[in-house]
Every structure is written in C-alpha cells, then in structure tokens.
C-alpha cells in the first residue's frame, strides 16, 4: 500500500532536485553541442549555460528564474493500492518545496477570470497511468512558460502523412524556437486524440537524451527532424548557430482512422524533470 503522503514526499524531493540540477543527459548533450556548434557566439552561449548549471548545483539555486508549473506523472503499479487524497498531498508538497527551496511561484488562480498569483505555485497538474508491478513511479517536470508557449497542437489529415508531420514540427520551431531558450529539447506526439496528443509530446521530453527510439522508422524521423531544426539556424540563445535542438523525441500512438493528431512540446535548455520510486 502506498499512502498519498509518500507520493507527496517524492514530489517534494523531485521538485527540489529538478529545479537546481540540470538533467545529466542534458548536461552531456550540452557539452557535445559545444563541439558541433560553429558560431562563436553560439559556443559562448553554450559555455554560459554550462557555467549556469555549475553555479545552480554548487549554490543550490534554481537553474532558471521560471521554476515552472509542476507536472506530476504518477505511474501506478497494477498490484498497488494507493490510499488518501493524492491531489491534496501533492499540492501540499508543491507549496512546501517552493517555499523551502526558494523557488518562484508562477501560477495564476484562473487563466481568464482571476489572474492573481496563487502564491504557492499550486495547483500541480497531475496525470495518472498504470504500469506492471508494484510501487508508484513519481515523475515531476517543471515546465517554463516561455517554452510551453512555443508549443502547438494540430489535427492533420491522414493523407498529410509523415511529410505533414515534419512540416508542422519544423514550422512550429521556426516560428517560436528563438524565444524558447534554445538549444531545445523537442517533444513530438503523433496520434491519440486531440486532448491526449499534447500529453504524448510532453512525455517524449522525459526520454533520456541520446537514447534511440526502439522503432527504426521513428528513430529515422527523429534524426530527420533534428537535422531540419538545426538547419533553421536559430542557434543557442536564438542568436544564430548550428545547434538549435539537443534532440528530438517522438512518441506515437493509435488514433482514429480520420485523424493524424500532432503535438510539439518545446523543452528549453534548462529542461527540468526528475523521477522518484515510491515502494
């Protein structure tokens, strides 16, 4: 049995870790990026971003002043029983983590009718899925507003095919990428339904940078998207160069015979996520 409080405790730990520590895979990708960046200005910006990661880790301060909205993904083992008010426990953990770790609170009470700041960065945005085994895998992503604003969903027609997907993804990054704090991690969702495809794109950001998609066709699509996005020339900081994306990750899913949903979730250079196992 897993208590809601144990999930809250995992959320707290994951927030504090993610806010101040660049993901090891992102750090490695950033170092590699310096070698393949041909613009001197771009290289200087990558050096600034690496220095930034060092300062944040050493001084235990946030990597970015936008410490984000909190997305919590709970992958619950099929043999597990979860007890208690999970959303309330998660929100208590968010409020405590943001106060204790001196993070910025950036959540408006309501998008339209009341944009006052909730003052404690609640509520978190929670997704629950199931997986084999026991325990709960708690994953937290802190998503900056600038990079989320650079994201988009489009319902393509099946006849648009892979070419249509590529066009939409590249056009989206061309239009918004320079403001989204490049070098970017691009999450692409293809399939599911209008409401779910954005979640696929977001989940794609969790995959380890440098890992290959198991399907060779999708892996080839990722390489092609990566090359086309780098060819945009947006570069580090949006100030020109040959590295615009650290990686492109694609997740695909079933969908209606009439549909080809596509979503692009743009991740910034300070892509922040962490997972904690609750057993």
């Amino acid at each position: 049995m897993v208590a809601a409080e144990a999930i809250g405790s995992a959320v707290y730990d994951a927030i504090v870790l993610a806010a101040t520590t660049l993901r090891p895979d992102a750090l490695k990708a950033m170092r590699t990026a310096i070698e393949r960046e041909r613009s001197p200005r771009g290289r200087a910006i990558l050096v600034q971003l690496l220095e930034n990661a060092t300062i944040a880790a050493d001084d235990r301060v946030p990597l970015c002043q936008d410490t984000g909205s909190v997305w919590v993904l709970l992958e619950v083992g099929e043999h597990e029983c979860v007890c208690g008010d999970v959303p309330a426990a998660v929100d208590r953990a968010v409020a405590a983590a943001y106060a204790d770790a001196l993070l910025r609170t950036s959540i408006a009470r309501d998008a339209l009718v009341d944009r006052s700041n909730t003052g404690d960065n609640t509520p978190a945005f929670i997704d629950v899925t199931f997986r084999p085994g026991s325990g709960v895998t708690v994953t937290v992503m802190l998503k900056g507003g600038g990079s989320d604003n650079a994201s988009a969903v489009r319902m393509l027609a099946p006849g648009d095919g892979e070419a249509g997907v590529i066009r939409f993804v590249v056009e989206t990054v061309a239009r918004t990428g320079a403001s989204a704090c490049p070098p970017l991690l691009i999450g692409v969702g293809v399939g599911a339904t209008f409401d779910k495809v954005g979640g696929l794109a977001k989940k794609a950001l969790l995959r380890k940078i440098g890992s290959r998609h198991p399907d060779s066709g999708v892996a080839a699509l990722e390489r092609r998207l990566s090359a086309e996005i780098d060819a945009l020339g947006i570069g580090p900081g949006g100030l020109g160069g040959t590295v615009t994306a650290l990686a492109v990750h694609v997740l695909t899913a079933p969908c209606h015979i009439a549909s080809l949903p596509v979503a692009v979730n743009v991740g910034c250079s300070a892509v922040r996520s962490a997972s904690v196992e609750v057993v």
């Binding site: 990026a33 971003l49 944040a56 996005i229 060819a231």
Partner: protein, 202 residues
Amino acid sequence: MGETERGPGFAAAIEVSLPATRKALAALRAGDEVVLTGPVYTARDSTHERLLTELHLSGELPHGLAGQTLFYAGPTPPAAGRPAGALGPTTSKRMDRATPALLRAGIVATIGKGPRSEEVRRACADNGAVYFAAVGGAAALLATHVTDAEMVAYPELGAEALMRLELDRFPAFVAIDACGENLYLTVALEWRGAADADGGDA
C-alpha cells in the same frame, strides 16, 4: 559560412553604464557583446498593463521610469547571499504590444530574450532606444551580476512586481540597436542551412 572574428570570446565586451545616455546607446551596434552596470526595473506582463494604464492617465511614465531600462524578468527569492537566487530574461514578444508607447514616453532600453515585432524595431529606431538580449536559461549565472533589489511598486503582483535591480557587469547582446538593426534577422540569414545535414541527434 558565418564564422566571424568578432563576438564573445574574441573581443572584450563593451561596458555600458545605466541609465544609458542616448549618445552611448547610439554607439552600440546589433551583435555587440555588452556588460551592463547600473539600475534596471523589472517588468513583465501584468506590470506592463499597469504602466500603460498609468501612462494613459497621467501622460507620463510613473515611478521615475523616464530615461530608464526595463528588464523583462521576475526573480526567484533571495538565496546564496544574493538578492535573487535566479534571475533571467522572459520572452520579450509578449511585451511588444506595450513597448512602442513606453519607448515614446521615455524608456531608453529594454532587456529580454527572443525576437520582437517590426513595430518594436521601428520604435527603437525612431526613439534611439536599444533592445538587449540576455541568455534565457542562464538565470543562476545572471543572478551573480545583480547586487541589489528593491521593491518599487505593485508588490501584490508577486513575481511580476516592479523592482529596481542594481546590475554589475551583466552580460547581454545588442539585439536591436538605435538604428533599428535587428540581430535576430541578421543571424537567421547568416546561419539558415549552415548545420550539417546529419544533424546532431546522437
């Protein structure tokens, strides 16, 4: 293509004292690497709405902002002995709708990240104003160049409050100069198609 001997790491950054004179700003060129020292005022989305409202009511900039620099930023709380734990630029284009009026009213420079509208580019040229771009995502590093922070107005806006910051050799690039030259446009033309065809997605 694109390799140049100018730029960061190849030439010393230009020192800019704030508040900057029009003459000092006129000497800067899009692409210059600068370090900024002096006061700036943080202003984000809600702050801009307030500033525009007060400007329309009184006909002038409130809070002594004439001649000053706006920094599109909302800091995290003080940490590590610094006035802000992390402090970096937010996306400038969200402020574009308000910027021409604020430049006409006397704001002489803005700091943010990302490309801006044609209207803002033209307003920079018309008013001799400069837009500086700082590196988004480098907020822990940038916060080491902030020596003081004090509340000026709108504390109820939280992260969006108008604060006066004291910068010390804060690194940035001239993104739009006082002649209206736009670095984002230049680099887009310079670097489009320059990346290797195989990409870098290891």
